[in-house]
Point group: C2
Chain length 249, copies 2
DNA sequence: TCAACTGCTTGATACTGGTCAACGAGAACG
DNA sequence: CGTTCTCGTTGACCAGTATCAAGCAGTTGA
């Protein structure tokens, strides 16, 4: 760490703020929504908070037994599935407040890898215990169903993207999605660091890294964005939106 | 209906067998797994069974308020999302014993259309009531989580297919998947009717209908399958499998 | 029975994105 | 401080799939 970017400064202040779920500033994004203080305290007692994960390290790997869901507290993750012949499909990028590992409930075995793309911190939610608590706290039970449902909706969106969209549209959608999610967390919607490589973006979007690179350059030439390595600046938000709606075939 | 195919004969006998969940022959595929007789009875009382849906009719449409999940009892459905500009992405095909509508839990509004591809029958599971019962019946609660998790895993598989596979591989995977699911239900794994058009297959697989048609013809020329309109006969199961593992780029 | 329609197949051609290759920039390391 | 490695950019070329078009078969309905 040579110097603290604005983002890192912010992360640190957030980290100090939240000692547990009941005071966690990610409450709106994460689990304990609509719980009363007593229920919050019970939830707190189950959750292991602030487990650090170094950049590049796996939080879990496909094939490992499932025990817990994980919520990103600070940092950035990718999850990916590996096909038999070894090719990687990135199935999602996860930022603070998002839950990971729900794919593993069905078989009690993780079906994808979760890798930290920057130094991160997660909360561990032992699923059996959470499930028990959910039985007594309807709001928690319902929220879990909702979170899983949201994941399904998100996946459908990616399927639409992969099945119907052209390369330019995919990247436009990707950039707008990132921008929106950063904004939701109080970061700039117009200027952000990509935590992932071009190859990982490509894997997620069903494109090769060269194509990703080319299209980012093209967007820059068109004055839509400014690209400096992994720093993206959104210059013309509307223009990017228009790609999504007009260049449809 | 000019004549009864073997499949239809079988459907009818199944239909007579199951009057409700506790005797439903789809139990292993559907909801009530691991429940005792008393719990079964409670579940039975919630579920509206045997609601018919005519071929071509929608069970629900995107935008409609969410009230219930639906289990396919007899028949065949597709679900699809429509992008703003009107193009359709088929997100799944659903056969007997499979649950539909889980995407709607997150927002209390259906996010996709579910259309019957043949005359069908569904069980309606009012979600609020199911959720209540789940609080008292841990096995049911857990099973719901599992079913949703399985949907997420399935979607990841489709993302892998759409993101990484060539047209031939996609179709090979599609045929093997159908074959397996028919077999699981006691139908032939080697000879089955496609309920959907080439265009719907294409939409699901991220291909154009002409490509689907061409590749089915090619598979036939290679002696892998026999195609007669929508009747598919698997001639060389291993050969199809090999496409999945060898023609990877 | 014929007309109209939908779904399917096949061919010719176009074009998007993939592949291969070379090179540059920045980070990591000895 | 230079070496090495990873990541990213760009160009030339190619392959796979889409597009456009024509025609066929089966189904529906008058």
């Amino acid at each position: 760490m040579t110097m603290l970017s604005p983002i890192q400064v912010r992360d640190i202040s957030i980290r100090q703020l939240r000692q547990n779920c009941s005071t966690c500033s990610l409450r709106e994004l994460c689990l304990p929504i609509g719980l009363n203080p007593e229920e919050m305290r019970e939830l707190d007692s189950l959750i292991t908070q602030g487990r650090p994960v170094k950049r590049g390290d796996g939080l879990y790997r496909a094939g490992e037994p499932f025990r817990s869901l994980f919520a990103v507290r600070v940092g950035f993750f990718k999850s990916s599935v590996i096909s038999e012949d070894g090719r990687e499909q990135v199935t999602g990028f996860h930022m603070s407040g998002e839950l990971m590992g729900m794919d593993a409930i069905s078989s009690d075995v993780h079906t994808c890898d979760a890798i930290a793309l920057e130094d991160s911190e997660v909360c561990e939610l032992p699923f059996a215990e959470i499930e028990n608590l959910a039985r007594e706290v309807p709001a928690l039970q319902h929220h879990l169903y909702k979170v899983m449902s949201r994941e399904i909706v998100r996946d459908h969106g990616v399927m639409l993207l992969l099945g119907n969209m052209k390369a330019e549209e995919r990247l436009a959608a990707f950039l707008l999605n990132l921008s929106q999610r950063f904004a939701l967390r109080g970061y700039s919607a117009t200027s952000f660091h990509l935590r992932m490589t071009r190859e990982e973006i490509g894997s997620y979007l069903g494109l090769k890294l060269e194509t990703v690179s080319r299209i980012l350059s093209r967007f820059q030439d068109q004055g839509l964005i400014k690209v400096q390595n992994r720093l993206i600046e959104i210059i013309n938000h509307e223009g990017i939106k228009k790609i999504l709606s007009t260049c449809q075939d």
